[in-house]
C-alpha cells in the first residue's frame, strides 16, 4: 500500500524535517526548523550543516545515499552547540533526500535558549521525555548531593557527639533495653571506679547502688526503664572504693524506626559538690524560710516586674494558692480570688514608685475580710539593690493593725466627744499650770469673760481677778490646789467690760506620768444666781422686817386696845351692879355688847394673824365633850331667847365621854358657828347636834349647827371660808362682822385634822358641819370651871398684891377683889411689887406683864429668887394685854402659875385665883 502525506501532516509528524534536492540545496523544511536555524530555500545544505557522524566522504548526492539507515549527528555551521540527530531517507519520486531530525538537547535550558517549546516537537518525539529524564537525573543527583552533604553534617555531628560523649567529664552510658551496660565513656570509669570491661552486661543498679540510695528513686528508675520512658533524677551511687557520691541521672530511650525501645542512653553528672552546697543552701533557705514564715506579719518578695518570688503563710494561708502565686502578679491574684482590682492597682502604683525612688514606702490598706468586716493593714515595701544600685528585689511586709485602728477610731470618737464636750459645754473649762498660767480654755470660757482665746492663753488667771481678790489667789486658791489636789468655791473674775462675774468652780490638779502637772478647772457663771439670791435675801429681810413690824404693831395694838377695853368692860360690869333705870341699863348693855364685839374682833384678827404666821398652838387637855358642848350652847340661850329663837342641843353619845384635845378651840368654833346662826336667823330655831364615831383609835366628834336663817346663795358657798369674805356686801352692812369667823373656824378645824363644810338653801337655812378627831381622854379630877365662882377660904392672909400700872385697872381690880373680901395692895410697877412683897405677906400676886420701871417678868424672876421660901413660892397670876405673842409658856417657865388675858371678866379672874390657890393648898 502506497501512502502519501500532506505537507501539514508531514509538519505535524516531522516538524524538523529538511528536504535537499540532487544539487544538495535545501528545497523544503518542517514548521519548527526556522525556530532553530535561519534557512533559505535554494541555499546549499552544507552551507548550513555539517554531517558530524558518520563521516561523509563525498559531498554528493550519492555520497548522501551512504548515510541512509544510519543515525546522523549533524552540526549547525553557525551554531556549533546545536546538534541535530536523526536519519535521512531518499525520496526517489521526488529525487530528493529528506532529513528527519530533531534537535538534540542535553539540558532543558537549551529549549529556552533556542526558543523551543513542547508544541514545536512532534507528540511522538521522545526528545522532551529524554530531557525530562535528564532533569530527573539532575534532580536525583542534586538530591544525592544534598543527602550526602546532610549525611556528612550528621556524620560530623555524630563524630563530635561521640567525641563529647567519650571525652566528656560527665559519665555517659548506653544500655540495652533492659538496662544492661553496653557502652560507657572514660568519665564513667573515673566516676564509678569500675572499668568498662567490669561493667559491661551489668545493670548499674546491681553494683553502683547501696543502702543509702533512695529506694523510691530506684523504683522510679526501674519503672521508667521498664516502660521505655525517659528519666531524670538525682541518685546516690557508690564508688568502687565504697565512698558514695551524688549524680544527676538523665536518660532516654533510643528507639528504632518502628518506635521500639532498643537501648537507653544515660548521662550522669557528678553533683556531689553541688549537692553538698545545695544542702547547705537548702538548710540556709529553710532557716530563713522558717524565720520568715514565723514572723507574725505577712511577707512577700517580688521581682522587678512585681511578680511574687516568695510569700509566707501569714500572707497566704492556703499552701496551694501560695504555690500558685509564685511568678504571678497582684493583678493575677486579685482576679483569681475575685478581689477588687483597685487594690492591686494601688499596690502597683506604690511598687512603681519604689522602683523609681528606691526607697522604703509605707502605706495603709483597707481590705474586706471573709466576715465582711474591714481589715486595716499597714504595708511596708522596700527595694533591695544590687551592686550597681539597681533594684534587684522588692520586699514587702504587712502588719494587721485592725485592732489598733479600731482602738484609734474609738479614741478619735471619744476625743471628739470630749472635744465637743469641751467646745460646746456651757460650763467654763480651762487648764492652767501650777502657777495659774492658762494653757487651754473652751469657747464658753472666752464667751463668758469677754476675751478671745488668744487674749487669754498664756496669761495668768490672776490677771482676770478683781484687784481686791488678787491677794487671795495664791495663798488660798493655788495653795489649796497644791496641797489638797482640788479647790472649789466661788471665784470672782472681771469681764473684759469691767463687770464682776461670780464663777462657781471646782478645779483639780492632774498629774500624769511624763507630763507636767496641771490643773483642770470647771466653773459655772452664777452671777445671775448670786444677784437673784441677794435680791431674794433682801426681799426676805424686808418681808421679815415687815412681818415683824406688823406683829409688833398688832401686839402693841392688841395691848393698847385691850388695856382700856379691860377698863371699859370691867367698869361697865361694875356699873351693872349699880341701880340703873331701864334706859341706863339699856345703854349700858349696848356699851358692854359693843366692847365685847370689839374684843371678838381683836381676837379674830389676832387669831387669823397667828394662823397666818404659823404660831397657833393647841392645848392638849382631857375634857368631857358633852359638857363642853352644853356649856357653849348654854352661853347663847340668853341671846336666843332675846330673839325668840329656839336653841337646842342634841348629843347622841355618852355624856361622860372624855377626850383629849383643845376644849377652848372647840368652844371657839362652836361659838362662831352659833353666833353666826343667831346673827342670821330671825325666827325659827337653831339646833346643835353632835355624835361621836370611833375610827382607828381616835374619836371623831361630829357637830352640826343648823339654823332656819336667811341661808347662803349657792355661788357664795365656796368663798365664805375665805378670810374677810362674807356672803354678800349687804351682810356686812346689815349684820356687821369682820368676815374672819368662818375662815378661823375652818383653819381651827383643819389644823386639828378635821374638816368643816356647809350646806345651805337661800331663804330656808344653813347647816355648818364639822368633825374633829380627838384622842381618848383619861378621867379628870373635877377642877371646877371658870363658870363656877367659888371662892374657897383657902387663903392665909386674905391679902392680894396687884401689880398694875394703869390706874383704871388698879381701880377695877381693887373694887372686884375687895367686893369679895380681899385686902388689896396696889403696886405701880415691878419694883414696887418687890417692895410690897418684902414688907408684907400675901396669898397671891396679880402681876401685869408690861409695866414701867420693871416689867412683870423681871419682877417674877426676882420674886422667885427671894430667900424666903414662902415669898419666893407665892402664886403669881400673869395679867397681860398682849394676846398676840402667845408666849404664856414663857410666863409659866419663869414661875408664874396662871395667866389672864385682858380684858377678863370677874368670873375668869376668880376662877384663876381659885385655881392657883387650890394648887397652893395641895
Amino acid at each position: 500500500m502506497e501512502i502519501s502525506l500532506k505537507t501539514e501532516q508531514l509538519n505535524k509528524l516531522f516538524p524538523f524535517h529538511i528536504l535537499v534536492n540532487e544539487h544538495l540545496n535545501v528545497v523544503g523544511y518542517g514548521k519548527s526548523v526556522l525556530k532553530l536555524i535561519h534557512l533559505t530555500i535554494g541555499t546549499p545544505f552544507f552551507n548550513h550543516f555539517t554531517i558530524h557522524r558518520p563521516e561523509l566522504l563525498e559531498f554528493t548526492f550519492d555520497g548522501l545515499r551512504t548515510l541512509i539507515d544510519q543515525l546522523l549527528i549533524i552540526n549547525h555551521n553557525q551554531n556549533s552547540k546545536l546538534l541535530i540527530r536523526g536519519q535521512v531517507e531518499l525520496l526517489e519520486e521526488a529525487n530528493c533526500f529528506m532529513f528527519i531530525v530533531s534537535p538534540w538537547f542535553s539540558d532543558v535550558e537549551d529549549l529556552k535558549k533556542n526558543n523551543i517549546g513542547l508544541k514545536d516537537f512532534a507528540i511522538h518525539d521522545s526528545s522532551i521525555d529524554l530531557l525530562h529524564s535528564f532533569k530527573a537525573q539532575e534532580v536525583a543527583n542534586k538530591d544525592a548531593k544534598e543527602l550526602f552533604a546532610k549525611l556528612q553534617v550528621q556524620k560530623s555531628e555524630l563524630h563530635r557527639l561521640s567525641l563529647i560523649a567519650k571525652e566528656t567529664f560527665n559519665s555517659v552510658i548506653v544500655t540495652d533495653r533492659n538496662g544492661r551496660i553496653q557502652w560507657a565513656n572514660k568519665a564513667y570509669e573515673i566516676l564509678t571506679g569500675y572499668t568498662i570491661e567490669e561493667s559491661l552486661g551489668k545493670t548499674p543498679g546491681s553494683f553502683l547502688q547501696g543502702e543509702l540510695t533512695d529506694k523510691a528513686t530506684v523504683q522510679y528508675l526501674r519503672e521508667r526503664i521498664r516502660a521505655g520512658f525517659s528519666f531524670d533524677c538525682e541518685l546516690l551511687n557508690y564508688h568502687k572504693d565504697g565512698r558514695h557520691y551524688w549524680v544527676r541521672l538523665s536518660g532516654q530511650p533510643i528507639l528504632d524506626r518502628q518506635g521500639n525501645v532498643v537501648q537507653f542512653f544515660a548521662f550522669e553528672e557528678d553533683i556531689t559538690e553541688k549537692r553538698i552546697v545545695q544542702n547547705k543552701l537548702d538548710e540556709q533557705r529553710h532557716f530563713f524560710e522558717d524565720v520568715l514564715n514565723n514572723i507574725p506579719s505577712d511577707i512577700a518578695v517580688f521581682d522587678k516586674e512585681h511578680r511574687y518570688l516568695f510569700l509566707n503563710p501569714i500572707a497566704i494561708k492556703n499552701p496551694e494558692l501560695r504555690k500558685w502565686m509564685i511568678g504571678k502578679r497582684d493583678e493575677d491574684y486579685f482576679i483569681h480570688t475575685n478581689k477588687p482590682i483597685s487594690i492591686a492597682k494601688k499596690r502597683r502604683e506604690h511598687f512603681d514608685s519604689i522602683l523609681e525612688s528606691k526607697k522604703l514606702t509605707i502605706w495603709e490598706e483597707e481590705l474586706i475580710n471573709k466576715e465582711g468586716k474591714k481589715d486595716y493593714i499597714i504595708r511596708n515595701m522596700y527595694p533591695v539593690l544590687d551592686e550597681q544600685g539597681d533594684v534587684k528585689l522588692v520586699i514587702g511586709y504587712g502588719v494587721n493593725i485592725t485592732e489598733r485602728k479600731l482602738i484609734e477610731q474609738q479614741l478619735e470618737r471619744k476625743e471628739k466627744s470630749y472635744r465637743d464636750l469641751f467646745n460646746y459645754s456651757q460650763a467654763l473649762i480651762c487648764t492652767h499650770d501650777l502657777e495659774g498660767n492658762l494653757i487651754t480654755v473652751n469657747p464658753a470660757f472666752c464667751e463668758t469673760i469677754g476675751y478671745s482665746e488668744l487674749e487669754v492663753l498664756g496669761n495668768n488667771l490672776m490677771k482676770f481677778v478683781p484687784e481686791n481678790d488678787k491677794e487671795k489667789f495664791r495663798p488660798i486658791y493655788l495653795h489649796n490646789i497644791l496641797s489638797e489636789e482640788k479647790a472649789g468655791g466661788v471665784f470672782r473674775v472681771l469681764h473684759k467690760n469691767g463687770n464682776v462675774l461670780f464663777l462657781l468652780y471646782q478645779n483639780y490638779r492632774v498629774e500624769e506620768e511624763g507630763m507636767q502637772p496641771y490643773v483642770i478647772g470647771f466653773s459655772q457663771d452664777i452671777t445671775d444666781r448670786i444677784k437673784a439670791e441677794n435680791d431674794l435675801l433682801l426681799a426676805k429681810k424686808i418681808t421679815e422686817e415687815s412681818a415683824r413690824a406688823k406683829e409688833i404693831f398688832l401686839a402693841n395694838m392688841s395691848h393698847e386696845i385691850r388695856t382700856p377695853m379691860h377698863g371699859i368692860i370691867g367698869i361697865a360690869d361694875l356699873l351693872t351692879r349699880t341701880k340703873l333705870d331701864d334706859e341706863q341699863e339699856n345703854y349700858l348693855k349696848l356699851i358692854i355688847d359693843s366692847a365685847n364685839n370689839l374684843v371678838v374682833i381683836i381676837n379674830d384678827i389676832l387669831d387669823i394673824e397667828k394662823i397666818g404666821s404659823g404660831k397657833f398652838e393647841f392645848e392638849s387637855l382631857d375634857f368631857k365633850i358633852a359638857e363642853k358642848l352644853k356649856n357653849t350652847v348654854q352661853s347663847f340661850q340668853y341671846k336666843a331667847k332675846e330673839k325668840s329663837i329656839l336653841l337646842e342641843l342634841n348629843c347622841d353619845f355618852d355624856i361622860e365621854q372624855i377626850v383629849k384635845g383643845d376644849p377652848y378651840r372647840l368652844g371657839q368654833i362652836l361659838n362662831n358657828l352659833i353666833s353666826n346662826a343667831l346673827k342670821f336667823t330671825a325666827k325659827g330655831k337653831i339646833s346643835v347636834s353632835s355624835n361621836i364615831e370611833e375610827k382607828e383609835g381616835e374619836l371623831i366628834i361630829k357637830c352640826a349647827v343648823t339654823d332656819t336663817g336667811i341661808g347662803i346663795r349657792g355661788d357664795k358657798l365656796s368663798v365664805i371660808f375665805d378670810p374677810f369674805v362674807q356672803a354678800s356686801s349687804d351682810t356686812t352692812r346689815k349684820y356687821g362682822g369682820t368676815g374672819l369667823g368662818l375662815s378661823i373656824c375652818k383653819n381651827l378645824v383643819e389644823m386639828q385634822g378635821g374638816k368643816l363644810s356647809v350646806e345651805s338653801t337661800e331663804g330656808v337655812g344653813t347647816t355648818f358641819m364639822f368633825e374633829i378627831p380627838y384622842q381618848h381622854g383619861t378621867p379628870i379630877i373635877n377642877q371646877g370651871n371658870e363658870d363656877s365662882i367659888n371662892i374657897q377660904a383657902s387663903y392665909v392672909y386674905n391679902r392680894i398684891l396687884m401689880a398694875e400700872d394703869v390706874e383704871v385697872n388698879q381701880f377695877l381690880g381693887r373694887i372686884i377683889l375687895e367686893s369679895k373680901g380681899w385686902q388689896v395692895d396696889i403696886a405701880n410697877n415691878g419694883i414696887e411689887a418687890l417692895e410690897f412683897l418684902k414688907q408684907n405677906d400675901y396669898d397671891l400676886i396679880l402681876m401685869d406683864i408690861q409695866m414701867p420701871e420693871m416689867d412683870g417678868i423681871t419682877a417674877t424672876k426676882e420674886i422667885r429668887l427671894f430667900p424666903d421660901l414662902k415669898k419666893s413660892t407665892i402664886p403669881i397670876v400673869a395679867l397681860t394685854a398682849n394676846a398676840l405673842v402667845g408666849n404664856e409658856q414663857e410666863y409659866f417657865d419663869i414661875g408664874m402659875n396662871a395667866c389672864l388675858t385682858k380684858p377678863f371678866t370677874e368670873e375668869k379672874l376668880f376662877f384663876a385665883i381659885n385655881k392657883v390657890l387650890i394648887h397652893t393648898i395641895d
Partner: protein, 180 residues
C-alpha cells in the same frame, strides 16, 4: 506520591515557619523521615498525614494547606527545579493547560512507579476552559486548585476556579472551570 512533593511541603513549612514547626508537624503526623528523595515514590498516606498535621499545627484547614502546597509547588519547587521545562509547557496559561494532558501522560511514562493523575481539557474558550481531573487519590482536588492558581501567578494571569463537578457530590471526577 514522589518524594519531590513531600520535599515541597517540607520546604514550604520550613521557609514559612521554621525548622521547629516542621519537626512538630512530623511529630504530629508520625512521619519519621529525615530526607525525602525526589524521585522516590512514597506512600500517599505520608503526604496526607503531613497535610493534616500541617493544618493542625498552623491552625488552618487542610484545604488551605493543599492550596498552599499547590501554589508553592508551581511557584517555588517547579520553577526552581523544572523551571525551563515548565516554561516550555506553553507560552501562556491557556497553552500550558491545553498541553497539560500530554504532559502528564509523558510523566506517567517517565516515572513508572508514579501514578500521576490524568487531565483532560474541554470547552476551550478564549478566556476559559474546563479542566477535568481524574485521580485515584481522593481529597487532593484542592492541591489541583493550588497548582492552577500557581500557574496563573507564573503566567501573570489572574485566574478563577469554579468546581463544576466533584466526586464528593457523586460525580465521576472533578471538573474545574478555569477562567482568566
Amino acid at each position: 506520591m514522589y518524594g519531590i512533593v513531600n520535599k515541597a511541603i517540607e520546604s514550604l513549612v520550613i521557609e514559612g515557619f521554621g525548622e521547629g514547626k516542621w519537626e512538630a508537624i512530623k511529630e504530629t503526623s508520625g512521619v519519621d523521615i529525615d530526607y525525602f528523595i525526589s524521585n522516590e515514590p512514597y506512600n500517599d498516606d505520608i503526604t496526607y498525614a503531613l497535610a493534616i498535621a500541617t493544618a493542625k499545627e498552623l491552625k488552618i484547614s487542610v484545604g488551605d494547606v493543599l492550596i498552599a502546597f499547590g501554589e508553592y509547588w508551581i511557584l517555588k519547587t517547579g520553577k526552581e527545579r523544572y523551571g525551563d521545562l515548565l516554561e516550555a509547557g506553553g507560552d501562556n496559561l491557556k497553552e500550558f493547560l491545553t498541553n497539560l494532558p500530554t504532559f502528564h501522560n509523558r510523566i506517567m511514562l517517565m516515572y513508572p512507579k508514579l501514578t500521576p493523575p490524568e487531565f483532560k481539557v474541554s470547552h476551550i474558550e478564549s478566556n476559559s476552559l474546563h479542566l477535568h481531573y481524574f485521580s485515584k487519590r481522593v481529597g487532593l482536588k484542592e492541591f489541583v486548585r493550588g497548582l492552577v492558581q500557581g500557574l496563573g501567578k507564573l503566567y501573570n494571569t489572574p485566574v478563577q476556579l469554579e468546581i463544576i463537578s466533584d466526586r464528593d457530590n457523586g460525580d465521576h471526577h472533578e471538573t474545574f472551570k478555569v477562567s482568566w
